[in-house]
Symmetry: D2
Subunit: 129 residues, 4 copies
Amino acid sequence: MYQEQYFLTIRDINYGNHMDHLALLNYLHETRVRFLRKSGYSEIDVDGLGTGLVVAELQCNYRKECFYGEKITVKMNLELLSPMKLRLNYQVTKNEGEVAANAIIRLAFLDRNKKVVVVPQWLQNLAKG
Amino acid sequence: MYQEQYFLTIRDINYGNHMDHLALLNYLHETRVRFLRKSGYSEIDVDGLGTGLVVAELQCNYRKECFYGEKITVKMNLELLSPMKLRLNYQVTKNEGEVAANAIIRLAFLDRNKKVVVVPQWLQNLAKG
Amino acid sequence: MYQEQYFLTIRDINYGNHMDHLALLNYLHETRVRFLRKSGYSEIDVDGLGTGLVVAELQCNYRKECFYGEKITVKMNLELLSPMKLRLNYQVTKNEGEVAANAIIRLAFLDRNKKVVVVPQWLQNLAKG
Amino acid sequence: MYQEQYFLTIRDINYGNHMDHLALLNYLHETRVRFLRKSGYSEIDVDGLGTGLVVAELQCNYRKECFYGEKITVKMNLELLSPMKLRLNYQVTKNEGEVAANAIIRLAFLDRNKKVVVVPQWLQNLAKG
């Protein structure tokens, strides 16, 4: 399980005066990038061999309104659906653990010729463990 | 069925030099707002009585990479899941009809006190028709 | 002098793989909003009487490229140009004080009827002090 | 003189229910990219030799509030300040020619080693003409 915290900023707030439903998704993305970076990788080179990742599917259930300045916690874990398919399960909470949203992101991995390849071994290991 | 066309702009393009997966979702949002506006309403007042809508759930399957300057077509139709639940079904195509993405957005409707209310009648009618 | 720190996130990075020139400006905005909030106000109600502020002019000189994950410091001070005109002077630094950008934002204040009014007294006092 | 037209979209609108001051700047950027593209180039390769451009300075004066769905016209012309410095002068109008904003963007040109180089000849020619 990987976790990050963020304070909602003014660019997250839309004309309804609450967090935009799409603004939330940026924090899922940022969490993924920080996780990769702490392992020495990036979305563009996820294994040191030039394999990249793309989002194949995204699902999000919105449960609570969020507001400017609130602190949210994004928890993420990895689930291997098949050798080619990695799923990230996200939970976003605010305040004392209230669930603001649940989300799933399925990733695909592409080699330098944009051919789909298996999930890099280190991610498979983390997903299994 | 409601439909809009857009040209992808430079703010849609991310560091992978293709459309960001979240940028696509802005076009679903814009299509929804244009549809409401053509009917004389907005997300903040969807029935002339101050009822607002919020996104309760979002799903998107990404099928094709999209690039700067490409023209995309967003088709949207309405499906009534229950008197309280309206689902928007989206298909995003590019070029000669290649499917770039499919998406579903489930909406909830809130009165001025943020209490969930039934789908406004005119939307129920369109969803049924 | 008011000051905030930020870590650059993935949505700040554009297709040149560095911080977008417009992404930087969000941090100037966020700094202004945090400053107002710590004083108990917001852009929409800057004095407790419903006076709002708008950006009348913005200037930014870009000095250094910035990259994902870098920590930037935004310093802001207030300068009263006239009873109607408040200027915010910004300096953005990274690492050990390298200047990444200098910026100026001139604000105008509007009452509820969108008529330009004088700079609220508490801001005038801070600008003078 | 180069010109483009845009309809303001929902992601341009902020919690003040009008166009965000930073949203406007995206349209200056998009206009520049379209102009380059029509000449066969991009910001990353502005002369077919791998020379890139970066924004060195940006100034914008905001004159009129803009709202969702409004059509804006962005006019841009080129002014050569010195062999190394190109300035883009922008005027943004809405409705029947009301000026919404005036802006200036000064560009610098960098070779593949990020060394500043002269303005590409074809742009110098256009700026002079």
